[in-house]
């Protein structure tokens, strides 16, 4: 991580913020209005088109909010959110700094140790002031050079707006328009930053792109926005998130991710989400209301989503594919775990528009404690999608007798040549299974972890190797104490 650079950015922006005078800060404390939008855009030195877009989004959102059109259909419960009680521009987001790891919640520290995260990395995650010397700027630099050689653009969204406005203008909102849904509108109006990737024609991105290596990665968070474009024949694999629990003071997270794949292009997007889930009694925790969608615009293009969702108090997320190009392919592989009082309503939408489009959906939901886990999926075959095929497999695993698993599969077929398969199962980790493994010598927690990993195997094997190993460890840790 290039913490040196990050620190530099932070301090310089701090300075800038201070320079603009703190009066301004006083004038816009909490709440949202057009002035706040203008300010955000000005702070980021955005071109006019961005401001216009944000304002349109804001007006749309404000009308929705006035009409109380916040979506209510998800199978989750939470008290009403006061949108005027949120600070939308907190400048460079800075976590309260701790002097040393000793000040950190011992529970989080213990998790870091279990995950085997190096000490300096622990400090970065926890927001401890770091010694800039340790940082491996060289890693990030080498990384950037290698990408530049191939013409791959990988930068923060703000940089992209400044340096590649034509690409941003062309594709921003082309998959998730600002009118898409309540939270997407909010994000469009106020998004702070995120990632931007452009892989040029015929280029196979030479390495997996990870937020981890992106300069300014520590700034991401509350209202993140990501845009990835794979030009004709390009390939890119993008990793998002981190297995380590991330401390964050913001409760509402509303991110938007847009993917665009042109002819013969392929995008693989992998997520490990482990935001703070709240405590064992269900107090606190992040509300993670995310809109993720990919458009297979070109022929023979392919978009794969793989997600391992273990964090957040509430997850509301449907990474989807719009299969426009003929022969295009959409995939969704998901593990969602809810423990204690966590709630997840997650799934996917596969919209088949082009001919011979194919989609695969594999969803594994695990509920423990009082967790409530909902799969919600839509497979839609449009009139013109001759020869479309879908395979959906949707499995739920229950641990204990206080949790819940729910499934809402929607299927809409308007072309009689479509072939659809849907398999679903619900099972319980049985005392039989655990006893069998314990009789062979495995302690209860190892036994449970083995059963869970077996259950999730189809999804884990879609993850890049290193992520898969971490994801397995993460699941075991997230389930600690839920059995026996």
């Amino acid at each position: 991580m290039s913490t040196a650079k990050t620190i530099q950015d932070l301090t310089s922006q701090d300075y800038k913020w201070g320079f603009v005078t703190s009066v301004e800060e006083d004038r816009i404390p909490k709440g949202l209005n057009e002035d706040v939008i203008r300010l955000i855009s000005a702070k980021k030195e955005e071109p006019e088109f961005m401001l216009e877009w944000r304002l349109k989004a804001y007006r749309h959102w404000a009308a929705q909010e006035k009409a109380q059109a916040e979506p209510k259909w998800a199978n989750v419960k939470f008290p009403p959110i006061d949108y005027q009680n949120i600070v939308y521009y907190s400048a460079p987001k800075k976590k309260p700094e701790l002097k040393s790891l000793d000040e950190l919640d011992p529970e989080i520290l213990r998790t870091y140790e279990k995950l085997g995260i190096p000490l300096e990395e622990q400090k970065r995650l926890a927001g401890v002031a770091v010694d800039a010397v340790f940082d491996s700027v060289s890693v990030a630099t080498t990384f950037k050079e290698k990408l530049a050689e191939k013409g791959v653009i990988f930068c923060s969204f703000s940089e992209a707006v400044r340096n590649h406005p034509e690409l941003v203008k062309k594709y921003l909102g082309s998959v998730v328009p600002y009118t898409d849904n309540f939270f997407a509108s909010l994000n469009s109006a106020v998004f702070s930053d995120g990632s931007f990737v452009y892989v040029p024609r015929g280029v196979r991105c030479p390495m997996e792109l990870s937020t981890y290596f992106r300069i300014n990665a520590s700034e991401t968070g509350q209202f993140e926005r990501t845009l990835i474009i794979a030009d004709e024949g390009a390939y890119v694999s993008y990793l998002e998130g981190c297995t380590a629990p991330i401390r964050d003071e913001n409760q509402l997270h509303a991110a938007v991710v847009e993917l665009v794949a042109l002819d013969n292009a392929q995008i693989k997007y992998s997520t490990v989400q482990n935001w703070y889930p709240g405590d064992k009694e269900g107090r606190g925790g992040i509300y993670n209301f995310v809109t993720k969608r990919g458009k297979c615009l070109g022929r023979n293009s392919k978009i794969s989503w793989t997600q391992v969702e273990t964090g957040s108090a509430i997850t509301w997320k449907y990474p989807s594919c719009i299969l426009m190009g003929d022969n295009s392919i959409g995939e969704f592989y998901s593990v969602a775990l809810t423990n204690n009082y966590q709630q997840a309503d997650t799934g996917t939408k596969m919209i088949h528009i082009g001919k011979n489009t194919r989609s695969t959906v594999v969803s594994k939901g695990i509920s423990a404690g009082h967790g409530q886990n909902t799969y919600r999926g839509l497979v839609k075959i449009q009139k013109g999608a001759t020869g479309a095929r879908n395979y959906t497999q949707c499995d739920s695993l229950l641990i204990g007798d206080k949790c819940g698993a729910h499934t809402f599969p929607y299927i809409e077929v308007k072309n009689s040549s479509a072939r659809m398969e849907h398999e679903a199962s619900t099972s319980k980790i049985g005392e039989d299974q655990i006893f069998y493994l314990r009789q062979r010598g495995l302690p209860t927690e190892e036994a449970v972890s083995m059963i869970i990993n077996g259950f999730c195997k189809q999804v884990f094997r879609e993850l890049p190797m290193e992520f898969a190993v971490e994801a397995q460890k993460l699941l075991s840790i997230s389930l600690e104490g839920s059995v026996g």
Partner: protein, 255 residues
């Protein structure tokens, strides 16, 4: 010292007493067969010894190599060298046999303070044991018991036993559901495991298994008690006269 010492063991499930005072001593090198009609408590005895928590121990004690078995968790009993072949082996989808067995062996080795085996050391060992039970190479990557036939599941139990090399092996109705060819393979596997340091307890309903694995002692369990004990000839006599014969004196009194 005896391998297993059971003294006046009483066990219940839901306040219903199933084991009603069992006494049994098993020494290293011995093979004991526990026979009995359905519902006599054979499987309960096996599961209590393997430390299944569904059963409540109301009286008695059990020593495994001199240690209090009834205070052990299932994984501790396994670490102490107790193995049970299940009557109904459980499926573990998504976990390969090779992975599972290495994890099990290493868990047991860890308990004993022995070094864990890596995949390179483990694979030849597993393959050797598989040959013993006529298991196909494909077995390695198949999920534990998933989609296995009844016979394959039982053979798999014996492969596991061979890999884990227990001191005390309890085989719970391993012969049930086996055709004669599979029965012979399983018996061959068990016979190879016989040694002066190891004790084996065969729980079975039928005498036919004992044609292939000849026990040193046969005990007849009726109504949660051992009604009769003897040598291998007792099994033949039972086959001839039926379980009511073994139970006769007890039954006469209770009526």
């Amino acid at each position: 010292m005896s391998m297993l010492e059971i003294r006046n063991l009483h066990a219940s499930v839901n306040n219903h007493e199933i084991l009603r005072g069992i006494d049994l001593t098993v020494n290293p090198g011995e093979v004991h067969s526990i026979m009995g009609p359905n519902g006599s408590g054979k499987s309960t005895l096996a599961q209590v010894l393997a430390r299944r928590e569904t059963y409540e121990i109301t009286q008695g004690e059990v020593l495994l190599n001199g240690k209090d078995l009834l205070s052990m968790k299932p994984e501790e009993a396994a670490g102490e060298g107790l193995f049970m072949a299940f009557q109904y082996p459980v499926e573990v989808p998504g976990i390969s046999n090779a992975y599972f067995l290495r994890a099990a062996l290493n868990a047991v080795r860890k308990y004993r303070g022995q070094e864990e085996l890596d995949a390179m050391d483990f694979l030849p060992l597993l393959k050797e044991k598989m040959q013993l039970l006529d298991m196909d190479e494909r077995f390695l990557n198949r999920s534990v018991n998933e989609g296995f036939s009844g016979g394959e599941k039982k053979r798999n139990e014996i492969v596991q036993m061979a890999v884990l090399e227990p001191k005390l092996a309890i085989l719970d109705e391993t012969d049930s559901g086996l055709d004669i060819d599979a029965l012979k393979i399983v018996a061959k596997g068990v016979n190879t495991m016989r040694s002066k340091d190891r004790a084996i307890v065969l729980v079975t309903h039928y005498q036919r298994l004992l044609n292939h694995i000849v026990p040193d002692f046969v005990h007849v369990l009726v109504d949660g008690r051992i009604a009769k004990s003897g040598g291998p000839e007792l099994a033949l006599e039972l086959e001839d006269k039926g379980y009511s014969w073994a139970d006769a004196p007890v039954a006469a009194i209770s009526k």
